[in-house]
């Protein structure tokens, strides 16, 4: 494309500047809405992907919401935390459980956090060590906190080395790989979180956990069906704690999708309407441009302009509008995938908008169009 053709394009845009500004604003709004939809989708999809990739059985159930409430209100005091531990012990006594629980060990007057993990914890979440080893089977269910090995998250790699004693008491036997993640089964509240800062220890025997007043990991409760979990709520009722809600893996996935779709659907409809409106305006403005400048376009064709030159000239303003809008919206979201989607959308919008004009010019030679105009 030579300089004169570029000058022609910018000359046209300058003459219709106000219309182009309006169209750009409209397009920016449409692209922002598309970006928001992508943002919401991006929040939901990693959770679903993680749930699918981990070895979570459909027989695992997670507890949601009411675990933090008692008849007296939101759990906050030591007494309520004690109630929760009682329920955890009850669950551990009656069901197979998996997961991890944050516990606190007093060291030099300070409370230091340790996650006690169950035997299948590393397998379920595909957790591997970058150095050292995982726990041996015999190290789980011990009756004493003495000689407890620990595996540290990747964040501690520079601070400790294998064989060091954590809190002068727990031998470090391994370091987890970077970006190790786990997820909870908590319906739409499920969250994928990184455990690079975890200090993992093998869960002790229930007796030992009770003696040391430590909670028991019950994030995943194994049951044939939800009805089997009723006695937990009966026990909670005895203790004056609100009943638990249980969600399985399929229910969690369904809830995450439902919430994402709930947000997505209205946004999608609004976005579609705005995009469609912007598209119609772009097509209309191009057809108007052709109609208004048909004589000038014919003169250019008479003098050797090809159909593609005319389409390029007519479509350049649209392309510029669409791509400026996509760029502006991309700056807001600052995400490579969102930027890619927005630019693909801008390309599609340009093609769809130029298509009717191209077809019109192709089907009806300009000389015929001019005669009709006259």
């Amino acid at each position: 494309m030579n300089l004169n053709k570029i000058k022609l394009i910018f000359g046209d845009i300058r003459l219709n500047l106000r219309a182009y500004i309006m169209l750009t604003v409209q397009s920016v709004i449409a692209f922002l809405v598309i970006g928001v939809i992508l943002l919401v989708s991006n929040v939901a999809s990693p959770k679903i992907n993680a749930l699918d990739s981990f070895d979570l059985s459909d027989n695992y159930y997670g507890c949601i919401r009411t675990e933090v409430y008692t008849n007296h209100g939101i759990v906050s005091g030591e007494e309520d935390r004690q109630l929760r531990k009682e329920i955890e012990y009850f669950i551990a006594e009656n069901y197979e459980v998996q997961g991890s629980i944050d516990s606190y060990i007093t060291y030099q007057g300070e409370e230091e956090g340790i996650e006690f993990v169950t035997e299948k914890f590393f397998d379920i979440f595909h957790l591997e060590v970058q150095e050292g080893r995982l726990f041996e089977k015999s190290e789980y269910g011990q009756d004493s906190l003495d000689n407890t090995p620990v595996i540290l998250g990747a964040a501690y790699k520079d601070e400790y080395k294998l064989g060091d004693m954590y809190l002068d008491r727990f031998e470090i036997v391994g370091f987890l790989k970077d970006d190790s993640n786990i997820i909870t089964l908590a319906g739409d509240l499920s969250s994928l979180f990184c455990i690079d800062n975890y200090i993992c220890a093998p869960v002790k025997s229930l007796k030992c956990m009770k003696e040391n007043n430590l909670g028991y990991p019950t994030e995943l409760i194994c049951a044939e069906d939800k009805g089997d979990l009723k006695k937990i709520n009966d026990y909670a009722n005895e203790l004056g704690v609100y009943p638990y809600n249980y969600v399985s893996l399929p229910e969690t996935k369904a809830l995450i999708n439902a919430v994402a779709n709930q947000v997505n659907l209205p946004l999608l409809l609004i976005s579609l309407m705005i995009t469609l409106l912007a598209l119609l305006c772009l097509i209309q403005s191009m057809l108007e441009f052709v109609k208004k400048n048909i004589v000038e376009l014919l003169i250019h064709m008479m003098c050797g302009a090809k159909l593609s030159d005319i389409i390029l000239r007519v479509g350049a303003g649209t392309a510029l509008t669409a791509f400026i809008s996509a760029a502006a919206a991309s700056l807001v979201f600052r995400s490579a995938s969102t930027t890619a989607v927005l630019f693909i959308t801008a390309t599609a919008v340009t093609v769809i908008a130029v298509l009717p004009v191209a077809v019109r010019l192709k089907l009806k030679p300009l000389i015929v169009a001019v005669k009709e105009e006259k």
């Binding site: 004169n4 003169i299 008479m302 003098c303 050797g304 090809k306 159909l307 030679p365 300009l366 015929v368």
Partner: protein, 218 residues
């Protein structure tokens, strides 16, 4: 050389059809100046549009030199229009908002010829006597000046054929005379000039005449 061979152009008209051209054949030699005359509706402008590759014949062939122009794809036809044909029409076909220079420059936008475009514009405007109007917007020009601008635009890319459709139709006799003199000089310079006109005085100045009636040569 231009060669028109059995050209037919049919337009749909109501329930039937209109034969605007009905088997027109003729040849024009290089550098020849010819007039195509006939009454309104005889098919003159249709013939010129086909010769200018702005319209397609229903049947028949049209050659520019050895090249069968009527069968070329649209893209190639545009190239031929740019390189080989210059148009001059009754209502000047100028872009009113452009200056004289911008109008004359239009064929050069699409030209692949390696020429000094600035120089070509200045030379051609000097030939038509509009050097002093180079930056004047076209809407400020008189009818005669507009037609001279159109002629300058028609020849700026050095085409071999000039097609003129009623070139003096909107001009007084003095300006018409001046324009005709320009065509004669272009013919002498080797350009093939085809003028469509119903002005008998203008046609009389052309060495050869073709008369069309109801789409046929008579």
């Amino acid at each position: 050389m231009l060669k028109v061979n059995n050209l037919v152009k049919i337009y749909p008209s109501g329930d039937g059809e209109l034969r605007a051209l009905d088997g027109v054949s003729f040849e024009v030699a290089d550098g020849e100046l010819i007039a195509v005359t006939g009454r309104s509706g005889s098919g003159k402008s249709t013939l010129l549009n086909i010769m200018g590759l702005l319209d397609k014949p229903t049947e028949g062939e049209y050659y520019i030199g050895d090249k069968k122009a009527s069968g070329l794809p649209l893209r190639e036809q545009a190239k031929v229009r740019n390189a080989e044909i210059g148009f001059v029409v009754q209502d000047f076909a100028l872009v009113e908002k452009y200056t004289v220079k911008q109008n004359v420059n239009i064929p050069l936008i699409y030209s692949k010829k390696q020429i000094d475009k600035e120089r070509a514009i200045r030379e051609v405007l000097q030939r038509v006597g509009l050097s002093d109007k180079i930056n004047t917007p076209v809407y400020k020009l008189s009818g005669g000046q507009k037609q001279r601008t159109a002629i300058a635009r028609a020849v700026v890319n050095d085409p071999s054929v000039i097609l003129a459709d009623e070139p003096t139709g909107a001009l007084d006799s003095e300006n018409a005379n001046g324009i005709m003199t320009l065509f004669e000089s272009l013919s002498r310079a080797g350009k093939t000039v085809v003028i469509v006109t119903h002005d008998q005085n203008l046609a009389a100045r052309c060495p050869r005449r073709i008369v069309l009636e109801d789409g046929r040569i008579v």
